[in-house]
């Protein structure tokens, strides 16, 4: 059993709770135990770094310091924004002794900045062989558009270069291990509009609709994401895109952890598949082995899929 520190972040306990539900559902099968950072607090997200650089470093540093005191050598931050803020803080403190001293004086902690920050792609990439071995229900009829967005693979100074910032492959590799078929498409690294869902919805509609159209043109049945903001913009905002005439159709948007979970035959309800705004029933139909709410029995699930199809 591998133990890894776990920083859920605010979204995984709120708007993107299916991300946490599906993550927790798959880690047992991957022989991994998540050790939550005690009494973690918000990383500051997109609001802190545009307001105060010191705040944007010190808020994540509190969490890294707690993880360090728990003896955790590394922390998984599944939310791409939390990952970027935690990894950036670690990177900046490492390269700036003045800043490190200042942060420690504010925190009143003896923080040595020893904790490595891992993205979900980095962690699952290291588990590709296990995912493949556990894929009792490989998603062989599901064409997926792997969407990285901005913060999972860049800038490389912050990520440490676990994947290529312009031509990444880790998400495709993970989806392939789950049996799904990644399509080739163009907009997998384009920004969806990030944290401007509420404050500038028009920009989010423009950017996210372009992403969905490209995925559709490439023949994808679903878009796969690993970020709560990407999910919210691409799933929840599809209605706004339709209302504003920017997008027609319904594109299911799945968390990467849900794709892995479905391939393991985990009950869709446990994976939070019912929490999406755009129905995931078409995905269930295509994945053949799993039916909506039909438990993990392959035969029964196939029957459900057959009815839908």
């Amino acid at each position: 059993m591998t133990k890894i520190g776990y920083f859920p972040g605010c979204s995984l306990h709120g708007l993107s709770r299916e991300y946490e539900e599906s993550l927790k559902a798959i880690v047992a099968g991957l022989d991994t135990e998540l050790v939550e950072v005690d009494d973690w607090s918000c990383c500051g997200a997109s609001s802190a770094h545009g307001t105060s650089h010191l705040l944007a470093v010190t808020l994540p540093a509190r969490n890294l310091a707690i993880a360090e005191s728990q003896g955790l050598p590394e922390v998984l931050a599944p939310c791409a924004a939390c990952y970027a803020r935690l990894a950036s803080a670690r990177h900046e403190i490492e390269g700036d002794t003045d800043l490190a001293g200042h942060v420690n004086r504010i925190l009143v902690r003896d923080f040595k900045n020893t904790v490595k920050v891992r993205s979900i792609l980095e962690v699952l990439k290291g588990q590709v062989a296990t995912i493949k071995a556990k894929a009792t229900n490989p998603l062989k009829d599901l064409k997926v558009a792997c969407y990285y967005g901005c913060l999972l693979v860049r800038p490389v100074e912050v990520t440490g270069g676990y994947d290529d910032p312009e031509d990444p492959s880790s998400m495709e590799d993970i989806c392939k291990a789950a049996g799904a078929v990644p399509v080739k498409w163009n907009r997998r690294l384009d920004c969806c509009g990030g944290g401007m869902s509420m404050s500038r919805t028009g920009s989010v509609v423009r950017l996210s609709a372009a992403i969905l159209k490209d995925a559709k043109a490439a023949g994808a049945d679903a878009v796969v994401v690993a970020c709560p903001m990407c999910h919210s913009n691409l799933d929840f905002r599809q209605k706004a895109m339709q209302q504003r005439g920017a997008w027609e159709g319904d594109m299911p948007v799945l968390f990467l952890t849900q794709v892995v979970g479905l391939s393991m035959g985990i009950d869709p309800k446990t994976l939070g598949m019912g929490r999406h705004f755009v129905s995931t029933n078409s995905v269930m139909a295509r994945t053949a082995g799993t039916g909506s709410g039909a438990g993990t029995g392959t035969n029964k699930a196939t029957a459900v899929a057959g009815e839908v199809g």
Partner: protein, 193 residues
């Protein structure tokens, strides 16, 4: 990299390029205007100033031109510009430094909705230690965000169990507030420069 604590001997307002360099540790004049940042910028279609324009105006100390620039506030921090800059100029970090200057100072004009969102977001984190999404929505609308936007979609979010009705307060709330207060004190000191 520039420290927040270094005192500076000066006889007039600190020139913008020097100030940004002190904050970021990077010399804005290193930008040679290749435009690669702007070519990849997702918001370049909506902004009057593109990333390479911003870099040039910083290097030329044009605080006046930048104060009116929507580009600073519309920047999504996708980091495409920073990733692709061939000379390590870090436009995304520069945008952050400018927002910090204009957010604390009196010169900048952040769009009302965006400013209200960030203020509401940070107020929630200061109050609870974590983001309370329902609190954010309420406070954002009362603080200058569009009052009736998402009124019809919010019930569907609730129906999916995605919005908590009560905040969770972290135990280390004193520490979180100490962080906010210390950073506010640094910002006040910076504003006095």
């Amino acid at each position: 990299m520039g420290s927040h604590e270094h005192s500076r001997n000066h006889s007039g307002p600190e020139p913008l390029a020097a100030r940004v360099q002190r904050m970021t540790g990077l010399n804005p004049a290193c930008c040679y205007q290749c435009g690669k940042c702007s070519a990849g910028c997702p918001m370049a279609a909506e902004t009057t100033l593109r990333p390479h324009d911003v870099m040039r105006l910083v290097a030329r100390d044009r605080l006046d031109k930048l104060a009116d620039a929507d580009g600073l506030w519309l920047c999504l921090t996708c980091e495409t510009c920073t990733s692709r800059c061939p000379n390590g100029c870090d436009p995304a970090r520069t945008m952050d430094a400018l927002r910090e200057i204009f957010a604390t100072g009196k010169d900048g004009k952040p769009p009302k909705a965006i400013s209200a969102f960030h203020k509401s977001f940070l107020a929630q984190v200061r109050a609870h230690g974590r983001l309370f999404e329902m609190g954010l929505i309420m406070s954002y609308k009362l603080g200058g965000g569009p009052m009736f936007a998402d009124v019809t979609t919010t019930p569907s979010v609730l129906a999916r169990g995605k919005l908590g009705l009560a905040p969770h307060n972290v135990k280390g709330l004193d520490e979180v507030r100490r962080i906010f207060d210390a950073c506010a004190a640094v910002a006040a000191e910076e504003e006095g420069r």
